[in-house]
């Protein structure tokens, strides 16, 4: 079945395109891209209204799908439904499940669930160490064979420098990056918020930015030593960004990602609008305005490689406790695109083209998966975005099983019109009404 997406603004930086182009989808592939395409035979024509953006499918490289073991928070089915509603055609899911994804069995289970849901593509990320316990390497080769695209002990850093070195060397054999949750654990202690004035005033134990940067420096040095690739997950502190820049300037293979909440919010959210709101508690924590602004600057000047949500669903009951006891994390799949358009593109920080690099091109490159490109012959993973759509965030109507977001009720400019995976429209936003 052929489908012609006609007259839309195609933003495809990998192929140097930003303009009005037609795109022909045949089956699960992109057949042709060009201007004023004429198509023989049966073809469904979809007129893309002006104002929408057609781009390579967005890839969220940091998502917690919670299955197996924590299905009360999210499942692969609900998580991928949330992903496509958020405009993502693929997600990479973290291994801190129960049991941990440190063996082929769990990897295959996740992939099976993804196939059953048949919505977004799922790229599992395997554990660095068995049980994520930080002692012995997991069977990384087996994980690779089963379908993992990277390894991480996310939730924690890789426990020792020695183990991180080995992980970089070993995973390097398979061309896999090590994704690192940078955190010096003794400095973090039992901290629950950014170490700054607001935490002091509210009586919350603090986590300094240096807890993140110290570990990043360790890992960058090891990446240099081994020639391996390290990806700094959910970067939050300006000191960490400086470390990444330093590493890149020395030729180390280091990349980094920032979450939307870290370039939008600051630790002021701890006290207002809701004091001690557990939907503002995540790790790494929201930091101060200087850190937030540094993230924006890094996104603008290219030091930041990717935007990823660190989508961390938690059940309502788990978050409805004292701040100290609440689990870390907020959801992100269904708010990311709106926040990116509203706070980056419309705010003049970056262009749409750069946004597509951050959300599609670079994640595909870092994870070494197909995607990030609308070239002829590529899989038809396409996101159709609505940069001017007026959106009011509503936690109650989200497709994720969990509601832990601080953005409930926010009005933003920018949203998703439709999401196409392998040529199939897996999500269509009724508010835009595209007949795709």
């Amino acid at each position: 079945m052929k489908r012609l997406l006609k007259g839309g603004r195609l933003v495809d930086p990998a192929n140097g395109r930003d303009g009005v182009f037609d795109l022909l989808v045949d089956g699960d592939r992109i057949a042709r891209v060009g201007r004023d395409l004429h198509v023989d035979g049966a073809v469904a024509v979809v007129e893309i209204p002006s104002g929408l953006v057609v781009c390579p499918g967005l890839i969220d490289m940091h998502v917690h799908l919670r299955e197996p073991g924590q299905e009360h928070k999210e499942t692969v089915a609900t998580g991928t439904a949330a992903a496509v509603a958020g405009g993502f055609t693929a997600v990479a899911c973290m291994p801190n499940t129960s049991p941990v994804n440190d063996n082929a069995g769990v990897t295959e289970y996740i992939l099976k669930k993804a196939a059953e849901a048949n919505l977004a593509r799922v790229y599992p990320i395997g554990a660095v160490s068995r049980g994520q316990a930080g002692e012995q390497l997991a069977e990384i080769g087996e994980l690779r064979q089963a379908g993992c695209v990277a390894i991480t002990d996310d939730g924690r850093p890789v426990a020792t420098a020695m183990l991180m070195r080995r992980a970089l060397e070993y995973a390097g054999m398979f061309g896999m990056p090590v994704i690192e949750h940078c955190e010096e654990q003794t400095l973090k202690g039992d901290g629950v918020a950014h170490e700054g004035f607001h935490a002091s005033a509210l009586g919350l134990r603090g986590i300094p930015g240096q807890a993140e940067s110290i570990m990043a420096l360790r890992d960058i040095a090891l990446a240099e030593l081994t020639g391996g690739a390290v990806h700094v997950a959910h970067m939050s502190a300006r000191q960490t960004l400086d470390a990444v820049r330093w590493g890149k300037s020395r030729g180390a293979r280091v990349t980094c990602e920032v979450t939307p909440h870290h370039f939008v919010l600051t630790d002021e959210m701890l006290r207002a609008p809701i004091a001690y709101d557990t939907n503002v508690k995540m790790n790494p924590p929201l930091r101060d305005a200087a850190d937030r602004d540094a993230m924006l600057a890094g996104i603008a000047d290219g030091s930041v490689d990717a935007i990823a949500t660190d989508h961390a669903p938690h059940h309502y009951d788990e978050k409805r406790v004292e701040f100290d006891h609440a689990p870390f994390g907020i959801t992100g799949l269904e708010t990311a695109v709106s926040l990116c358009f509203d706070r980056l593109v419309h705010a003049g920080v970056i262009s749409v083209s750069r946004l597509v690099e951050l959300l599609s091109v670079n994640p595909a490159r870092i994870l070494q998966v197909t995607g990030g490109s609308l070239a002829e012959g590529a899989p038809a993973d396409i996101s159709i975005l609505a940069p001017d759509l007026a959106v009011t965030v509503s936690a109650a109507t989200m497709r994720s099983k969990s509601r832990n977001t601080p953005f409930d009720g926010w009005t933003l400019r920018g949203g998703v019109a439709a999401t196409i995976v392998g040529g199939r429209a897996v999500y269509v936003n009724e508010a835009v009404g595209l007949q795709v």
Partner: protein
């Protein structure tokens, strides 16, 4: 006044003075032969204490009974928490019995805010984690005003474990609101980041910090802090920061020495100072009842209409 008293941070200057003035009137009731007025008759007050406390809880209980309220004490043992009943569930169960006021003491900062969002009852913070202990600061201010007739312009020095102290935060907020000149002093490891932004001077040398002080307030030091490497030993802590008569002599001759209790004699304060002529520590305890009566009276009025 608002529905709850969660912290000094929520009170205006006028509200603080109203509480202190009302406490004056309440104090007189404690001097009568029948130490009771019918003001809160038929009102139920629940003292929900997640942390053990003799002093604060007794003080609240006496205050409540003097106002003729019906008092209920719930001391939540650690085991109930371990069994998994959340604060939210406990709160909703208590709320089902329609108390008018809940007095909460809890080990987590912000627990009162959570309770206040869940319950319609008025909530009084009797100490939440490291955040605030508003009635303590109010009774401290009451005591200071008794001796010094005013608060603005006074030199107040607060010494101790600043980082972990809710008494510190409440007192700093209150004293700076009323115009006192506040100096906070403690080891660098125990100074909260950004505390100067609350309008206080910070010092790590107690001999300088107490110079010309009108009021010296000592904070309790927990010995367990040694395990977090905050200071090496209680011996060294006492030598460097302990309040001794020699240090007291550097303050003004009519200085008053305060402590929220319970005291660690020989660690943050020597017995000679604690029991000496400048100490008003026991008065603080007595004033606690009057101040808490004032808070209960001011909060427990105004009803379902608002």
């Amino acid at each position: 006044m608002k529905k709850d008293l969660l912290g000094i941070g929520d009170l205006t200057r006028d509200e603080i003075y109203l509480i202190l003035d009302t406490a004056e009137a309440m104090r007189e009731i404690g001097q009568r032969p029948i130490k009771k007025v019918p003001t809160l008759r038929g009102k139920t007050v629940v003292n929900l204490f997640y942390e053990p406390s003799t002093r604060t809880r007794t003080s609240f209980e006496i205050a409540e009974k003097r106002l003729s309220a019906d008092t209920l004490n719930i001391a939540v043992a650690a085991s109930s928490v371990l069994k998994g009943e959340t604060l939210a569930d406990t709160a909703m169960n208590i709320e089902a019995m329609a108390p008018d006021v809940i007095v909460l003491r809890h080990a987590s900062s912000g627990a009162c805010h959570l309770l206040s969002r869940i319950c319609k009852s008025r909530v009084i913070n009797a100490g939440d984690g490291m955040h605030e202990h508003p009635t303590q600061a109010l009774l401290d201010a009451f005591t200071i005003r008794e001796h010094k007739k005013r608060i603005d312009g006074l030199n107040v020095t607060i010494v101790g474990d600043l980082l972990h102290s809710r008494v510190l935060r409440s007192n700093v907020l209150l004293l700076t609101q009323l115009g006192a000149d506040v100096c906070v002093c403690g080891p660098s490891t125990l100074v909260p980041i950004g505390i100067e932004r609350l309008g206080v001077r910070v010092s790590t040398r107690v001999d300088e910090a107490v110079r010309d002080a009108d009021v010296i307030m000592m904070l309790r030091i927990q010995q367990e802090r040694m395990h977090g490497a905050f200071f090496p030993s209680v011996r060294e802590y006492f030598n460097t920061f302990g309040m001794t008569p020699a240090r007291v002599a550097r303050a003004k001759p009519d200085v008053i020495i305060m402590h929220p209790g319970p005291m660690n004699r020989g660690i943050e304060i020597s017995s000679e100072v604690a029991d000496g002529p400048y100490s008003v520590i026991l008065e603080q305890v007595a004033n606690g009842v009057s101040v808490r009566m004032a808070v209960l009276y001011l909060l427990a009025g105004g009803v379902e209409g608002d």
